[in-house]
Symmetry: C2
Amino acid sequence: MDRQNLTLMTDLYELTMMQGYFAHKDRNETVIFDAFYRSNPCDGGYAISAGLEQVIQYIKELHFDDSDIAYLASLGIFRPDFLEYLKTFRFSGDIYAIPEGTVMFPREPIVKVIAPIMEAQLVETAILNIINHQSLIATKAARVCHAAKGDGIMEFGLRRAQGPDAGTYGARAAIIGGCIGTSNVLCGQLFDVPVKGTHAHSWIMSFPDEYTAFKTYADMYPGACILLVDTYDTLKSGVPNAIRVFTEMREAGIPLGFYGIRLDSGDLAYLSKKAREMLDAAGFQDAVISASNDLDEYLIDSLKAQGAAITSWGVGTNLITSKDNPSFGGVYKLAAIRGQDGQFIPKIKLSENSEKVTNPGDKKIYRIYEKESGKIKADLICLADEEYRETDDLELFDPQEPWKKTKMAGGTYRLRPLMEQIFKEGKCCYTSPKVMDIRAYCQRELATLWEESKRLVNPSQVYVDLSHRLYHTKIELLEQMSRG
Amino acid sequence: MDRQNLTLMTDLYELTMMQGYFAHKDRNETVIFDAFYRSNPCDGGYAISAGLEQVIQYIKELHFDDSDIAYLASLGIFRPDFLEYLKTFRFSGDIYAIPEGTVMFPREPIVKVIAPIMEAQLVETAILNIINHQSLIATKAARVCHAAKGDGIMEFGLRRAQGPDAGTYGARAAIIGGCIGTSNVLCGQLFDVPVKGTHAHSWIMSFPDEYTAFKTYADMYPGACILLVDTYDTLKSGVPNAIRVFTEMREAGIPLGFYGIRLDSGDLAYLSKKAREMLDAAGFQDAVISASNDLDEYLIDSLKAQGAAITSWGVGTNLITSKDNPSFGGVYKLAAIRGQDGQFIPKIKLSENSEKVTNPGDKKIYRIYEKESGKIKADLICLADEEYRETDDLELFDPQEPWKKTKMAGGTYRLRPLMEQIFKEGKCCYTSPKVMDIRAYCQRELATLWEESKRLVNPSQVYVDLSHRLYHTKIELLEQMSRG
């Protein structure tokens, strides 16, 4: 993806609609689209935003080259004047977004595009693809890391990822969400993140016996020697052979750095406790026991509860595919159209399901922190021209049940605008932080969530409220439409 | 992915193991690895192979460029002589594979790599990533198309795919599995497959009213006019406005080509039947009713059973992510090592779970068809030097329960070797067919399956038997190892 022009990575209907706008509307009509999602992945209490750096790259690169134009012409549905227009097409609008690594909640605009309608329409598919994918994996990683209670989680799902990008950008997102490293070397090269790994069963099998395989490995990598002990028999062969090798290293005066064993099959609770006893008895109290094998946040949580002696975890398939919830339902909806007077006219998308009715207008988000604890009290979506001040008293209400109100006295809370400007009139005005810096920021973000919202099962949901003005704008539009 | 060197898209342990082999083993020791899977996706009765074209591309491009070497050197774990060796590294081995679009079953080698151990080890991760992903989506697509009983299935999941490659190569695989087209324009450009699409809710919302939006669209695309009718109220507004536009086209003498409506929300069974009545009453019996909205094979099957009047289906998230089963469990296991005498010494990987014990040795697969029906009777995995003839009587037995035997008289069955040679001494000796030709081949392949094996729930499993020689080789190795 990195070196590829993704302009044609779009749904055909974006282009047929563009041609329709080109021919039948004011081409410069400016609109606002919001990308947002409706429910947290895995029935969780939050999501982590990710993918913005790749969205920026996509927007910067956006152009139709000659082969793209030739291909579109070959489809027989595009007219010469429209194809001619595409030759010089560039994105000229504004984009606002929630920075990567931020904790976010349903219905909040993650990305807001303000641009001529043809441009805003075209970019829908790629923005959703990138943000949906990376936010999904970052969120899943945060859940897995939460279950591990401070133990390191290694991402190593590349072989089961849904294609090369899913493996590489998925690993990027997993690190943003809290993983300490990935097995994916390409991800390490592209994003300067830690890569880790030792050996597979085939290493063991390619030597005459397990001891020789371990010994050879330890000779080569004495500083990072995690031996895979389950090829033949974990407790009868693997762990004793590992102990033999560690003992020889100790006797030869070779410093044992990061060393230990990896369990990859069987009952991880039982085997880890037995292996711990054996390692401890041999004087290797600081040997690490790492484990892998179809792990996810629920299994790690359960193993922790069972007292498994594992302090390092490798998570593959279930993280890199977010197996129990493999898609993030981000959508991209029209929120406003600029009228002849320059003012935005709010637009709303109806639905029989009231949760699916969109929030109209040009919006922004305030995060409200409880001053005392530093924890998130609620988020407030309001219109872009509304200003709130921390010194004022604040009344919040639940937009689904507006009679439920909460008052906060001025001075007891902190406000933070969540969205940042990313593009201004087609020029990027934002610098993406390094991935490891985003990871550190995400850790600080997660610390602002109450424990009850980080719970894996049935977490408390954080309130996302609407300002009075936004709420009334929405109600008014709904009433207008029901009057027909 | 297409224009990118994916050499570093590998797990770090492949490289640490390579360096180990480099330093401590005969570098030219030739080994055999098999990529295979253990159970069919979605508890189905088969899988469809896909991804080989991208594997070929990957192997052809395999090399470490200067920036790759510099990155690896920066990790501080690779020695100068090994890095020097990588500079001229190329794949020099043989590869055999099951062609794309082929029906396949658990435990069959999909890809067999015969190469010096360092090369065979390196390519593991990328081969699995590519084959696992595309085979998963091709299989899911075949299931969805089976449920649709001949109706066209459109793939349009790009926005919910796990990144750009998942959207693009996933769409490729979906077409191999039977979809008639994709919304993904990049996939159309790269693989010369049909791209389709009309308009979104935002199109309707950007016009003053629904009728004007429909009319404008119909004027532009009279030959492929599917109108999205659920923006405001499907039966009270959408369908009547569509009928008004179709009537005007008919009255103006504009030929109605492929035309109709798309339902994207609500009760699709009820709405499609009502819409059908309304369209028929207006004389539009040939108007197509297409539907979308979180569909999968089970929902389509249920809608068909309910008599829904839908004959064209758009499937997004659940197909492009294979939502209920988002990973294909392909693994890559050492099967043999060439001894000093040039003969391959079979290797076996033990497991407490007997289903997980690998099949050792240099193998190939025969597919056995019943001559009369042309349907698949069983598959037979045997050693590469075994030859079977259709004129001989054939005795098959179940490797899990070897006392269960089936005899087939010579002349009553047909044999077909399933694997083809793809690389010979590092040179590609195979030409990938065009995607639409692979799709046509896949349709013929699916026709060789009994209906009972294509059933969505609890299908009959096709027997994958072992030859007597392979079975005895396996038993002998197991006994050797248990003697220890």
